[in-house]
Amino acid sequence: MNKVLIANRGEIAVRILRACRELGIETVAVYSEADRQALHVRYADEAYLLGPAPSRQSYLRSDKIIEITKKSGAQAIHPGYGFLAERADFALACADAGLIFIGPKASAIAAMGDKMKARNTVIAAGVPVVPGTEGEGALADEDLLTIAPKIGFPLLIKATAGGGGKGMREVQNIEEMPTLLHSARREAESSFGDGNVYLEKLVEGARHIEIQILADQQGNTIFLNERECSIQRRHQKLIEEAPSPFVDDDLRQRMGCVAVKAAQAVGYVNAGTIEFLVDKDKHFYFLEMNTRLQVEHPITELITGVDIVKEQIRIARGRQLSYKQEDIKINGAAIECRINAEDPFNNFMPSTGVITHSMLPAGPGVRVDTGVYPGFEISPYYDPLISKLVVWGETRAQAILRMRRALEEYRIVGVRTNIPFHQTMMDSHRFMGGQYDTRFVEERFSMHDIEEGKTIHPEIAALMATLVAHQSIERSAQVVRRGERDTSNWKWVGRWERIHR
């Protein structure tokens, strides 16, 4: 394997490209018309156009991707996450075309891809699951309404084919259930082309904790400890940390062993993640398995020293894992903040536009994985993830302090970002204390609260606003005739004054 096609875009395509570069493997990028200037196209050795911007016409065109792979002479495809990463038919098509799919076998994707099949598989392997409807497949609304009271409220409606919170609804009582079933099915249908849903008991005060596993073709399966992913909004993860402040070594070992068991139940090969819900009494329930590289894999890399993407390639090459279970230790603590193009002061509304200026945080213990740069346009076609800001610290407290300084250094002009959300979270006493669950962001967190001990500066803000307003007035008064507005008010004034003096 000396040439790999990366069937993805954005930060994860760049992440995989970097790993290939560092392994001396040539890289092939694919791109949509909206991504001609994307970083993965610029960094790759080769790049081929897939089609128009919408994913269905570009990054989901498995036929075209396989064709390009063969044409370019690449021997393998890395799917990243999203798009084709968890499509058993794509993994199969790769195998049929004689290409290596850097991921699990199609059978394992299929077994874990259908939520109900997955539950049945892991139950048979003795893995605990959340109570809910299972096994019978596509249940009609009337059946679900009959079963619901037996499971008990609150409960969740979830898309059978789904993931990432799409087609998911929380139900408090039987009365509101028909409407919610309808909207969940609509969203599932539009997101996955499959309107089937199932019910699941809502575990209250639950934490979302997941176990990273690696498995080679020789039958070795190891776990790389846990990631705490409870800081979510609308079921979208926003902040992840490793290790979890809630998990002790006993729980870690137990969850790890169960995760390995679940993976082995489907003959799993390559990197994968078992997601669990953990209640306040440290009971844990299998949620789902993500049969691919995870967005938040860097925090595991930082605490274990394992380069997960390189290990994926190693496994796909047929080699043994570089690590045994006893080699996997926890060194320090890592936190990831997902930097999204969305406005935390306006209901997290997505924000699009050209990034006119950007300054990445840097220095000791800071890692940024990004697919954008100044001059690049954030388009409405793809997800709003601009970058992942990841820090490492000797202790969790050190990591939080480092994340604070990194967030304060980060400058992005041109689109609104959720950096202020992360800053507010890093100042939150509950976050600092590790006291949060999956409902924390939506129910007990506000961008407007001021934590005790936090200084605010309304008088400085007033001064800044007034100085900018003043200069803007001065400028318009001075302007006689000019073509177009300069983005740099100050410099403009400077130039204007030089010219007219």
């Binding site: 193009a341 699009t352 409405p380 997800d383 605010i456 008088e459 001064l463 606003a465 983005t487 100050w490």
Partner: protein
Amino acid sequence: MKYITTIDGREFAIEITDGQVQVDGHRLEVDFESVSGQPVYSLIVDGKSYEAYVYPDEDGWQVLMEGRLYPARVEDEREKRLRAAGGSAVSESAEYHLKAPMPGLVVQIPVEVGQQIEKGQVLVILESMKMQNELKSPKAGRVQRIRVKPGASVEQRQTLLSVV
């Protein structure tokens, strides 16, 4: 120039003349510059160093500093008197035009023309960046002129419907 700047209901009297700045009567040593020609400003005032993004918005200015957003209204004395006389009923009675906050696909319009709606009611569901976003009404009123249909692609700032 004298300004009254309001943040969170608190008023600051700020006077700027010939590079001299007074806040509530106190003279300050102010060194203020935009950075890289961007709407990012560096302010050194009496030795303290601050940096903020300052954006204009419909009602005035937004100052984003150390993760906190300070919406600010900057008025000279004449403007402030005018506004005090006019009262705050203006926005409630005016027509509201819902504009797309970003390009996207209209997924659903759960209201009809002529329908009476409440403040906060969802007017349009718009899909963008793989997320469904609920666009809500900032006021109570009646729906008028729905200009788009579900399934339509819309541009940023395109007017979708109006509420009177």
